[in-house]
Symmetry: C2
Subunit: 380 residues, 2 copies
């Protein structure tokens, strides 16, 4: 599979899970038609159009009991250079068919610029060249902006690299965006002056369409350097838009993506959606529910997301994988061993459990990533 | 379940599918926390915050083997009056947990205005008071704007009520939006002058975030009266945005929604997502893959979508259900019997199969909805 920007086609990989007796070749042919012309083959009157538009089977192999691996080549022309239509070609109508799972692709396009900062850039912003970055979430929803700012100050003082809003902090009355963001940003800046560090604050930006275009003005006004975004709630193109319109660090949150992961033989492979695709759209970091937390993914899935974030893609910066979802300090050595140190470790409520004093809790967190893994494991 | 705009809470219904031995009460309590504060119960220090923010179990009943019906009440304050965060509360993080299915809600909010036109309004625009409206899709992708306009003229001449673009027509070079739309709109207008009818053309508007704000100017410039939208590809808030910013008829397409429907005990009930929710966001009509076509839904699911579109919701106009996805003229009597005549029947490639002359094919389509059902069934 290879499809660079200069090629006229891109290739997409699907897994087919078919009941015995179903003709895989026929299913594959129908998929190629469904995702492009939405006509059955006999209704395509013009042969040139078929060449110009219809998906083409590159390979179809049986890979196990009822399982087949299908690679389809689509002409770039069908995407029109826009990500909503591109994703429509990848998985729009066939999301409603059974036994088809989108595994990945190797396409690149101008509309998929990848991270503006990536791992290197974000490390530079934080001033942390090697160890995992550490991150927590301001919560709970319902707290006042002043209280959240107080928390942020205490946490930044303890040495966190990134403090993000809980993804449920939108624009509610108890802490409206325009009130909360400057207060927290100022609190973190005050801590940075005291520590000499460069902790970053990423407000949650789950905005309706009316508010998304205000982001550039907001980010300049409040001096923020990054945001937390829920692409599935706002529309996946929101990531690309924010990448295009701003210079913000973009941290993607997987809220609402679970629908695509609930069936083993349908939907979208998490390594593609949360790894490759969010990264290509512009995410500098992608949060995923880590194995051993309160969500569902197994280790193989987590590794696939890490690969999607970091594997070599020509011209596209690697992004930080962000294991999360019920982690505790005790899991840090394991995470470092599994995924390496190019990692943002996100611990939310597990951090609050470490010590009632948030600065102390943050210091414990920091210590766990500064020591070599063996030393951390040996500590009591 | 009842939650009007004046109430301080809204209620959401979930189905839980739990392995034997799992405590349903505990799962329900965790859900209430996960969707709001994202803290475990013992970490909520302030009792007043719990009352103000955390979801509350209204009822939890066993409904069958491993199945439970859960109703949760959430304070309106957690949604902040914006649809992305509102949907986040309904299903954001728990989309990534197993055994939880979003069934429905009965909330209403200012940010959910419902259809601007609805069934009555769209019937008025088409000048069709009683019979089902008939609709087809311009295809295939890859055709020139001129060819699509020619097709539209022939189809409008035959008596179609609505001609929409295939949902894969975005902004590709072979028929760019700004070229295709005025050509087709003019072709349909010419046919309307000849027939005295009022066939409507709905271009497909699957736009990236940059283009969505141009819609008002586009619609005024080109004189279009409606658009086809893929909310899951563009972001679900796109529906509400288009409802708010324009007076266009909005026809919703289910592309990419299938991820939520692939597992019987996870995801989102199609009746809620394609029926109630799209309607509340502003869809005047919602396309769904009908039973007996090339997609998956069973009859019960289709009925649930019809109910979601048409059941009484205070202050919200009913929307047209639009059965589609591989329909033929032969299925019209059955569709009318199943769903009644407040219906838009969408036949795409099945229509092209009726007669190579599109005007003739459209006339056959029109005849099938003008006759009483019995007469249609009796015809050879």
């Amino acid at each position: 599979m290879a499809a660079g920007p200069g090629d006229s086609c891109f290739e997409v990989e699907y897994e087919l899970f078919l009941e015995p007796g179903i003709d895989a070749e026929q299913v594959a042919r129908n998929l190629c038609l469904e995702q492009t012309v939405e006509l059955s083959d006999d209704l395509i009157v013009e042969e040139a159009l078929r060449m110009r538009v219809v998906g083409r089977i590159v390979s179809l192999k049986s890979t196990g009991r009822n399982l087949h691996r299908l690679v389809v080549s689509y002409p770039w022309a069908v995407a029109g250079g826009e990500t909503p239509q591109l994703f429509n070609v990848l998985f729009g109508n066939i999301s409603m068919k059974s036994g088809i799972r989108l595994i990945g692709w190797s396409g690149q396009a101008e509309c998929l610029p990848g991270p503006a900062h990536g791992i290197e850039g974000l490390r530079r912003l934080c001033g942390v060249p090697h160890r995992p970055l550490i991150c927590t979430a301001l919560k709970p929803m319902g707290s006042s902006s002043a209280l959240l700012a107080e928390m942020a100050y205490a946490l930044a003082l303890g040495g966190l690299d990134i403090i993000k809003d809980d993804h449920g902090l939108a624009n509610q009355d108890f802490a409206p965006f325009a009130e909360r963001v400057p207060l927290i940003q100022a609190a973190v800046a005050r801590a940075n002056r005291e520590t000499g560090s460069n902790c970053l604050y990423f407000p949650s930006f789950t905005a309706p369409m009316d508010r998304i275009s205000q982001i550039r003005r907001c980010s300049e006004k409040f001096g923020i350097q990054g945001v937390l975004v829920c692409p599935m709630l706002m529309g996946m193109d929101s990531l690309r838009y924010l990448r295009h319109e701003t210079n913000l660090v973009l941290m993607a949150h997987p809220a609402l993506t679970g629908g695509f992961f609930s069936h083993p033989h349908q939907g979208i492979a998490p390594g593609f959606l949360l790894g490759t695709w969010f990264r290509q759209l512009g995410a500098d970091a992608s949060i995923y529910p880590n194995v051993g937390g309160r969500f569902l993914f197994d280790l193989e899935t987590c590794h696939a997301i890490n690969r999607g974030c970091k594997e070599s893609l020509p011209g596209i910066r690697p992004a930080f994988p962000v294991p999360a979802g019920g982690m505790s300090l005790q899991q840090i050595p394991q995470m470092r061993r599994l995924y390496g140190d190019d990692l943002i470790i996100l611990i939310g409520s597990g951090l609050f459990r470490e010590d009632p004093d948030l600065t102390t809790a943050a210091r414990l967190f920091r210590r766990a990533v500064e020591e070599p893994i063996q030393a951390v494991e040996a500590s009591p």
